[in-house]
């Protein structure tokens, strides 16, 4: 990512120069080719075939249908569809975008606040930093299970706090079913992802030279200004990285938590909280529409690539080390 903009020597020359290093990475390259590249190409090809239950044994020899499934999804995007198969995908797309947006906004904002707090000197800082890390060592499946208990309408911790302890609301909220379920999923995801964002930002804050702050203080900058003009700009590279990670996790994510939190074994979180990966999984493995599933996955990948393109344009300058400030 931090590629140098200087003209590069030819690949061949570099390989000769660092032949030992290339020998060391060769096994990895071969393994990645076998493990990543071949299945990816196979998946792309699969999305052009009519692989379903009855043609599954034919696998790659199944009837070629070209862009049929792509056309189906894209036409439905433009004109809508009666079939719950397609409308379910469109609905899941909307939910996924909303989910990705809110998880990122919340994770980055809360992560920044936490990192700023943990960057100050206080008595139990070591313990606080360790505690903040805790949710991150909890596997996502366990997170889902824990939150299933937290969100229970009767006896769940969330309603216990909101109704009995704080008295903010009178009636317990139904979280796991109905319109609130998307937020139930977002909050669980944020809880799990927050430590990572916090640690990354904290690590970056700690390498900001103190003399910058001292100089600013001498010039009469207040706390907010110091944050606005020193901390934030210097955190930009790490924020950019976190946004990238967050969006990838958002678009491809939610499955593990949804499976455990909403249960049912199908990861069907209802129309309010159904996300793309669970939806594609359902279409592919429960309905045996392998070609359709592959095509939807490719479209999801394209959606992500579009985002990465935009991301790169927006953050290009902050990623280039020379333009870092």
């Amino acid at each position: 990512m931090a590629a140098s903009p200087h003209s590069k020597p030819s690949l061949w020359r570099r390989m000769k120069q660092h032949s030992l290093a290339y020998k060391f990475i060769a096994p990895t390259v071969v393994a990645m080719f076998l493990i990543h590249f071949i299945p990816m190409v196979q998946g792309l090809y699969l999305s052009l075939l009519d692989v379903r239950l009855t043609t599954l044994t034919l696998y790659l020899k199944a009837p070629f249908v070209g862009f049929k499934y792509y056309r189906e999804v894209i036409l439905a995007l433009l004109f809508g569809s009666d079939s719950s198969r397609i409308s379910g995908m469109l609905n899941a797309t909307g939910n996924t975008i909303e989910y990705t947006f809110w998880t990122n906004v919340a994770t980055l904002t809360l992560g920044m606040i936490l990192a700023l707090l943990l960057n100050r000197k206080f008595r139990w800082r070591g313990i606080a930093r360790t505690l903040v890390l805790l949710p991150w060592v909890v596997p996502t499946f366990v997170t889902g299970t824990i939150f299933n208990f937290i969100w229970l309408q009767q006896g769940g911790l969330a309603n216990r706090i909101l109704v009995d302890w704080l008295g903010i609301i009178d009636q317990p909220i139904t979280w796991l079913i109905g319109p609130n379920s998307l937020y139930a999923l977002v909050i669980a995801t944020v809880w799990r992802g927050l430590p990572f964002a916090t640690i990354m930002m904290l690590a970056s804050m700690q390498v900001i030279p103190l003399d910058l702050y001292e100089a600013a203080e001498l010039d009469g900058a207040n706390g907010l200004q110091r944050f606005r003009y020193i901390t934030l700009p210097l955190l930009k590279p790490i924020l950019a990285t976190l946004v990238l990670f967050g969006v990838i996790n958002g678009l491809y994510g939610g499955y593990n938590i949804a499976v455990q939190m909403f249960g049912g074994g199908t990861a069907f979180a209802g129309e309010y909280a159904d996300l793309l990966v669970p939806a594609i999984t359902r279409q592919t493995w429960e309905r045996h529409l392998y070609g359709f599933g592959a095509a939807s996955s490719v479209l999801l990948m394209i959606l992500l690539l579009v985002f990465v393109g935009i991301w790169y344009r927006v953050f290009r300058s902050s990623l280039r080390t020379e333009g870092g400030s």
Binding site: L53, G88, W151, T241, G264, R287
Partner: protein, 490 residues
């Protein structure tokens, strides 16, 4: 300065990479920990028997999963033939229950050695699918009843010959609804043999019913009397809800609704080839079911529960009745120390009733599991011997009682051990009016569509905070019908 920042950025990138590696290590761990968390969740709910289910029905939250490994290393002594058997975690102590049958079989058949492997319900379908495709796998395999047509259509199952079926006692010796699940419509013969049946009924508290001065035959007679019963019980016992059933968070979504569809006079499919679950009658049935929540006859949070949580609510005495299966019998007879309910009020007063009749009749869902022999099995004759042993009377009686299910053969069902048991007998009567899914290859897909729309209907119900209209039900079911017809090629 720039240099230091460049270094720091590289430093954080390196850190990021390390963390990513760590993260992926965590990710790798997670697969393993599913098992622990699932079993943990199970223990937390103090569920001795997990709805071990009929179809591909593991509530993911409670599947006792840590079970992939075969319990014993294969014994490489004199056995001439080794049969691999794949089975699912049936009952509270699945490995032990299975081993008892294997020991008995091996004692009766000295030349054959059985090597069992237990598959998690959640993973079983794909494992079997891979075995069918790759041509390598076990000889004998347990199938959820709705899976039979799928694997039969894929050409992976060795059909049972007429002579073999006669040797097993003929198709008439099995419960009718169970035998239906061995077929693939459009092809002759049976592709699997019924092993055990999972029949649904209402479990209720006999003491509360008696206190209310009601007789079971009147209280559960039809929809009206049933609703009246629930209301009466709730009035008399403010802390006890009328009924509990799972909403969307469950594998039994379509099974639970299907009873209301059938009893309203509706069907799931017409001629096994076209969606019929959106007929006016079927809509009336589903609306009637949804009404129970809207008119506050249920536990308030019933829609977010899964089957084992519903069972637990009944065990704790929070609800008068639930939609469930025969496995509660073993709960009631298991001591509390082992996670059962023995000595609780509910255990002493556990009673079952058939689903209240609707305008279209009185039916119940019959699921369960079948045994199939894979085509790739090199020793089909020995495999048949195992299937014969497991479906014979001795094993049927012992195994089904160990796992809390109903035998699949009529002979075993009429055995005094089962037939004269007041709890089991309700299921035997209900099974006579049993209905099940269509024996078509596409059933698994249809089920998935139904679960999606019926599940979303529970979201609608929860969202409206009141009575759901039949228009909304129609909208959902019409949507499902369009998709199902598309899957069926209409």
């Amino acid at each position: 300065m720039l240099r230091s920042m460049q270094r720091s950025f590289r430093g954080s990138l390196a850190l990021l990479l390390c963390l990513t590696l760590l993260l992926s290590a965590c990710g790798a761990n997670e697969t393993g920990s599913t098992a622990t968390s699932a079993t943990g969740g199970n223990a937390a709910q103090a569920e001795p028997t997990k709805a071990p289910a009929n179809t591909e029905a593991p509530a993911a939250t409670a599947a006792p999963a840590a079970t992939e490994a075969p319990t014993e290393a294969p014994d490489s002594n004199t056995a001439a033939v080794t049969l691999k058997l794949w089975h699912m975690p049936n009952g509270a102590a699945p490995a032990e229950a299975m081993q008892k049958e294997i020991d008995a079989f091996e004692a009766a058949n000295p030349g054959i050695k059985v090597e069992p492997e237990m598959l998690d319900w959640g993973a079983a379908f794909q494992r079997i699918q891979t075995a069918v495709q790759g041509g390598e796998g076990p000889c004998v395999v347990q199938l959820g009843t709705t899976w039979n047509p799928t694997f039969a259509a894929m050409g992976g199952l060795r059909p049972f010959s007429d002579a073999e079926i006669t040797e097993l006692g003929g198709s008439d010796s099995f419960v009718d609804a169970s035998w239906e699940t061995t077929q693939l419509i459009g092809q002759p013969g049976a592709f699997s043999i019924p092993w055990f049946a999972d029949v649904r009924a209402l479990a209720y508290r006999a003491d509360l019913l008696e206190q209310a001065g009601l007789k079971p035959e009147e209280a559960f007679k039809d929809w009206d009397s049933f609703e009246q019963t629930l209301k009466t019980i709730q009035e008399q016992n403010p802390d006890v809800a009328g009924i509990a059933f799972p909403g969307r968070n469950d594998w039994n979504v379509w099974q639970n609704s299907s009873m209301w569809i059938w009893n309203a006079g509706g069907e799931l499919l017409s001629n096994d080839s076209e969606a019929a679950f959106n007929s006016d009658k079927a809509i009336a049935g589903v609306t009637e079911f949804a009404k129970l929540y809207g008119e506050k006859m249920t536990i308030t949070n019933t829609l977010e529960l899964n089957s084992s949580q519903v069972d637990a609510a009944f065990g704790d005495g929070r609800t008068f009745s639930i939609i469930t299966g025969p496995w509660l019998i073993s709960n009631a007879r298991t001591p509390e120390a082992d996670g059962g309910w023995a000595n609780r009020t509910v255990a002493d007063n556990l009673a079952y009733a058939q689903f209240p009749a609707g305008p279209g009749g009185q039916y119940t869902f019959v699921g369960g599991s079948n045994l199939a022999i894979l085509k790739s099995c090199p020793n089909p004759e020995e495999a048949f011997k195992l299937v014969k042993f497991l479906t014979a009377n001795e094993s049927q009686l012992r195994y089904t009682q160990n796992i809390g299910m109903l035998p699949a053969t009529k002979t075993a069902q009429s055995d005094p051990q089962i037939a004269s048991d007041p709890l089991y007998s309700v299921f035997i009567a209900a099974a006579a009016n049993g209905k099940t899914s269509a024996s078509i290859a596409e059933w698994g897909q249809i089920e998935s569509v139904l679960n999606e729309q019926l599940g979303s209907l529970w979201d609608d119900v929860a969202g409206t905070d009141g009575v759901i209209t039949s228009d909304k039900v129609k909208e959902r079911l019409d949507k499902a019908a369009t998709t199902v017809d598309e899957l069926l090629g209409n």
